[in-house]
Symmetry: C2
Subunit: 227 residues, 2 copies
DNA sequence: ATAACAATGTACGAAATGGTACGTTCAGTC
DNA sequence: GACTGAACGTACCATTTCGTACATTGTTAT
């Protein structure tokens, strides 16, 4: 009998189940993202993810087949979210120098604000990118990033404020490296050199350094003379 | 009787055991280094480490107490090895610009040649540097790195070829970031951007980029005029 | 030689952990 | 209202995995 027996609690409140597939799935994914990013693929525990979810362990296997598949979906979702945010940047109407400056600062801050994503990428690299390789989705998402940078760079070269001969892909590599390291190695670097790298004032300094560094690297050696 | 019984094999060759503590310990540590760097703390299996060793699982617990302690020793040994190699660099007799150039290239190449170390550091960061924090040894090892760089930088400023106002620690951060990322994110970057980052010609390009970038950042804006 | 301790091998235990069998409830359709 | 498939809960199984008990062999000091 599911009818409300007025006897007190033993089976407790006995709430009616509400089916809500989308929300359950999303909930699982959110919890999994945090667990995997925190402990890695092998370190994360399905039971623990289940506990932290409103759903049960059964549901994880219902929606995501097994642990590795869940991890893969987590990774895909993370990339999707990031690329979505990046797409909001509107650089076309800015002067090249200003645009590049903005792009670098955006990347730096964005990474800093999304450690979960960074950690997932670290973990994926520990796995030699083997899951990323399985995902056509992620591959397709990332073309755009280079396009944006290419656009800015080409305009800069045409206007004479950027020097020629640089490869946008390599430029993106440099920007990524500096922004990524800021998050990925924060703990070891802070501890080894006894430096509060996470402190706001130091983060600001690093952001400035990184921006300056990229600009100095790209800028034409001598300011363009107005022809 | 351990005397060579000439009867044939059943208990097989029945070789005399040779006690060799140091070698066993070193062997375990070497295998552990590779296993941990490949699969992380939670991903590595004590049984698998034992199999790949000439010793048995029992020996691992005999010399290293438990899994986490073994991991810590692995990390310490890795840092020790690295700092030892770094110490061989002799920059004092070089001109500042040349010395800095040399230092950057060395760091870049060194990281590239020691992926196991890089991966251990990545893994340690996934663990929020919690093991590194326990090790006084590692803390003490790392002061020297900054000293070397400080020396070069100060000389450069005095000679007028470097600009003032930079913090050697932050400079080291920049150099590390670029060199580290080259190894740590090789897999994801290569896959996402369909770029053979590991190919020798691209590695050479990146090394040049990184060196150039650091030099441009540090160099005085206008070449020093001989007073 | 022999005591005493260090070094090693073998087998096993207990808990953790990924995954599943099986049953129940919900929600839309006829 | 009966039927059906999707959505969900509970209990459980099999294996893996860290760690240890116990026995044995080598080594060195006396």
């Amino acid at each position: 009998m599911t009818a409300p027996s007025n006897k007190v609690s033993p089976p407790a409140v006995r709430r009616r189940r509400k089916n809500n597939p989308e929300s359950v799935r999303a909930d699982i994914l959110a919890v999994a993202t945090h667990e995997f990013s925190e402990k890695g693929l092998s370190g994360a525990r399905i039971d623990e993810i289940a506990e932290k979810t409103r759903a049960s362990k059964r549901m994880i296997y219902y929606y995501f087949k097994d642990k590795e598949t869940l991890y893969l979906h987590t990774l895909e979702a993370a990339y999707q979210k990031v690329r979505l945010q990046e797409a909001e940047l509107a650089l076309d109407h800015l002067a090249p120098l200003e645009a590049l400056c903005r792009l670098v600062r955006f990347t730096f801050c964005h990474h800093a604000k999304n450690p979960d994503f960074i950690r997932l990428v670290m973990i994926e690299n520990i796995h030699h990118g083997r899951f990323l390789a399985q995902s056509e989705l992620i591959q397709s998402l990332n073309a755009g990033v280079i396009d944006v940078l290419t656009n800015v760079y080409v305009r800069g070269v045409e206007e004479g404020c950027f020097r020629e001969g640089l490869d946008p892909r390599e430029l993106h590599w440099l920007i990524s490296a500096l922004s990524f390291f800021n998050v990925s190695n924060l703990h070891t670097f802070s501890r080894i050199f006894d430096w509060q790298q996470a402190a706001p004032e130091n983060q600001q300094k690093l952001e400035d350094h990184v921006t300056e560094m990229v600009l100095r690297y790209v800028r034409a050696d001598r300011p363009a003379l107005t022809s």
